[in-house]
Symmetry: C2
Subunit: 594 residues, 2 copies
Amino acid sequence: MIPFLGSGKIKKMAKKLRIGLAQINPTVGDFEGNLRKHLFYLEEAARRKVDLLCFPELSLTGYPPEDLLLKPSFIKDNLWTLKEFVRYTKGKDITVILGFVDFKEGIYNAACVIHEGEEKGVYHKIFLSNYGGFDEERYFKEGDSWQLFLIKGVKVGLSIGEDLYYPIGPVTAQVLNGAELIVNIDASPYYIGKIEFREKVFSVRAQEGKVPIVYINMVGGQDELVFDGNSLIFDEKGEIIIRGKAFEEELIVIDLVIKEISTGRLLDPWLRKNKIREALNFGKQDLIVVDENKASYPKPSIESLRYTPLPLLEEIYRALLTGTRDYVKKNGFEKVLIGLSGGIDSSLVATVAVDALGKENVIGVMMPSRYTSQRSIEDASQLARNLGIELKVIPIEPIYEAYLETLAPHFKGTEFGTAEENIQARIRGNILMALSNKFGWLVLTTGNKSEMACGYATLYGDMAGGFAVIKDVPKTMVYELVKWRNKVAGYDLIPRSVIEKAPSAELKPDQKDTDTLPPYDILDPILKLYVEENASFEEIVSLGFDEETVKRVIRMVDRNEYKRRQAPPGIRITQRAFGRDWRLPITNRYRNDL
Amino acid sequence: MIPFLGSGKIKKMAKKLRIGLAQINPTVGDFEGNLRKHLFYLEEAARRKVDLLCFPELSLTGYPPEDLLLKPSFIKDNLWTLKEFVRYTKGKDITVILGFVDFKEGIYNAACVIHEGEEKGVYHKIFLSNYGGFDEERYFKEGDSWQLFLIKGVKVGLSIGEDLYYPIGPVTAQVLNGAELIVNIDASPYYIGKIEFREKVFSVRAQEGKVPIVYINMVGGQDELVFDGNSLIFDEKGEIIIRGKAFEEELIVIDLVIKEISTGRLLDPWLRKNKIREALNFGKQDLIVVDENKASYPKPSIESLRYTPLPLLEEIYRALLTGTRDYVKKNGFEKVLIGLSGGIDSSLVATVAVDALGKENVIGVMMPSRYTSQRSIEDASQLARNLGIELKVIPIEPIYEAYLETLAPHFKGTEFGTAEENIQARIRGNILMALSNKFGWLVLTTGNKSEMACGYATLYGDMAGGFAVIKDVPKTMVYELVKWRNKVAGYDLIPRSVIEKAPSAELKPDQKDTDTLPPYDILDPILKLYVEENASFEEIVSLGFDEETVKRVIRMVDRNEYKRRQAPPGIRITQRAFGRDWRLPITNRYRNDL
């Protein structure tokens, strides 16, 4: 668009900055561990002659700290950790930006600019995240000002997460006041489509401002969230110069050429409009001098890799893997226990667990009853053999008999029904939990999103466990992931029979999921509309779905809120999961008559 | 303070207004039912010649509607319901104020002033509630203006909930601009101390403004919240003129004399300060004329009762009773099922349930094992006899045997421990849920707050059920409530033996709670400090508690977050319950080393 910017003449005027992005995986509340991680990357960055090292949003505390932010001691410990870190920057000739909680008659989601053992300035996040799974307004005061930092002779505008997403905000003000580089530190959790969304929006922001943007994101799992990394640097045309790894901790180092920004901006009508400046309602701020001296070059050269985005199914699978690994490890577990039914859900969960934790840390338990088919037993055994995991076979028949006998006088005259079905599922839950209590293994549950939505699961039965790996994965996607994983394996790692048979809970003779639920290829699109997009009955029907089916699905979703409220947390992979971002009342008569 | 205000001469200048407070119990999302309720009280108020009828905050939708507010169809249905109601006000010569969700490029928590089939004006809540269990910033835009409404010749300033709690806000502006009466519609949930707090603050607000305040609160249970009613009218000296019933739906009607406010205010230096006016940053608003004609008197006289506040234990008990009744009924259940252990927790829950639902709707189940004492069996039977409820006795021994036998090969070489204890609790959970599934009875769980805090409960065992009646009641308070209830009964309704024996889970021989927990009279104060007041380890120790004990308690609270996440909802009675107002991460290494 402004072709002469690339010419040799302009290049001579350019400043250079070696930037390090520490795309780290901190743990919430682990100040000691998080400090160690910061110091490790500080050393590493110093060794690689980095000028400006950036950590993600709230990198010292981990994200999101939730109600830990209400503990005064937590705020104090966080400030103490900051002080400790600052001390270590002395003599390093490196400017560091990191995330912490600032305290000034109230707390702020803040970023600190540190250089040579000194805090040079603090930025307070202005646009707090208070939607979806976020509750930042519950804790933080809004920032009300921005600054420019002179770092190695480059004017840097600093912002946090959300601040960069808004079309008008502190970043606009920084650009209009001469920022030559924008740094945004974020903790942005993964969902399908999020990575593309970020790249698109930030590219536009860079173009609009004719300014390079450095975007650093967190990685790792924290309860239901997975941060995907994918940190980014854009040039002033909005082109991606570098993309960090997906789902992996790393230090990204790159030499960034800061072009004489004003030249490019001279051509841009947008930046001359006073109306925009006025709309901002931000005054001009002082320039905080961190380091006036330009970076000295040449430095020993560095290699910067630009990773390509992962294909969708691999991306989702990696999210599940990361979320599972971090939940297990950060909570101090080593081994996990999975009830294997021979069905596709538990097969996928076991495979993810093995990929995340190693086969020696995954134990399968097959608990056949009178309704379990021979094929299911074979499929579970074959899967365990393929994965190389231990499989315990614990028949539940004698226990089930004991329940039926005990309850016979109370159930007299009634027909076999949900009660008898659920007893079996709850026996299995009890056995898994007994093994868990005995040996300290974490139970992973195997329910998918379609089941969670419709309540097609037994509370305290197959829902019993600490972490629900595929809770946010619709059944149709479970199939896709399994097929993808088999393709990667190069053979039927998950036995073909598991994929081909009709899904069944096997809690009564010849049971099929479709006895209760619509076929999954009809159910899943309806659920997406109702759950993720808040579409109404009328809207869904108007898209061509059968009226009775839609009614039935909505009724199931609405009436099973009580089950979801007691479900274990699981990994979010869609725009709206049944987690922190799903706050429906249980007592709710809205359209109860549907 | 301004004695001549009461004299005959002043009185002649006074205007009168007959005010009706419809302290209703709506159901979230039940537009049809809530509309019916509004119309019922409209008719009733018209019959009693009310001039101004007030409903609580979000009275049309119920409170809190949570994520139902994200459904466009919900907003539309709410607006339609408002229109329907407005139609019915024609010909009634009555002004109505009610709560609804307004939609103007975003949604507002709003109050509508209605007269003779017309919407006269709408107020938007300015101070949104976004703390504790509230997430209003997640949904609503803030209001940015206020009005005065001329109702029967009286200038009325209208506000919603939180707006009246703040020392400076729309109410201040209304007063400074000549409001003669303040109306605040609220949905304020109960906790211990809340009723007194409201009365104190509003009394001060009335005094400050030299203005009478009409405060209307909701009643009834909604998931974990109980709204306590206790609507209030204050005179301009801050004296309570009338107090509505606690925990009961009613129409309060009173004739309010509106004194010539300006006379009183002439004496008040506070109201002359321009500094306050400027601090407000609110412009003067137009007066919206609803009805210029003064109310005609005399009207047929009415009786207005001023209820006295309930004694504390009765207040708490009534909160539990209301919360239980409404959760059960609003969710379409008739009967409840309670596992009776012969212990004090389940005895209290059963008693609350009988008081809330009637003895014919409560079924007790005693499930003895080898570790159940004869005394426990006798105590449970005696309680059931006293309450007049059905008691099923279902021994779990054969089932327990079957589990032990099934698991023997897997448990070989291990000692009896938590695993074996929990199996018993989970058998009981399974039996209760089987009866629930078979007969459609709701299972009430019996765990108290001290247990919930320390994780001294079995997931899927005694924690299995739909609603946790005393989840927020500390164990020491359980004892007080039981003693109070026995006193009311005039005999040992809950057998004395239940109160006198040492608490035990009876899951192994000679088990006592104190084997695992500190004595409750030490535990409960520590929990209150740590859970409700966010006190740190150091702060609690500095208050004189034993260091080791405090460490142990904090460790238990922190490490059992995963259990609480899967607990059923229960009634909030303290300033901070383990519900919507407790958002701690599970993955959390904060002070993990304690």
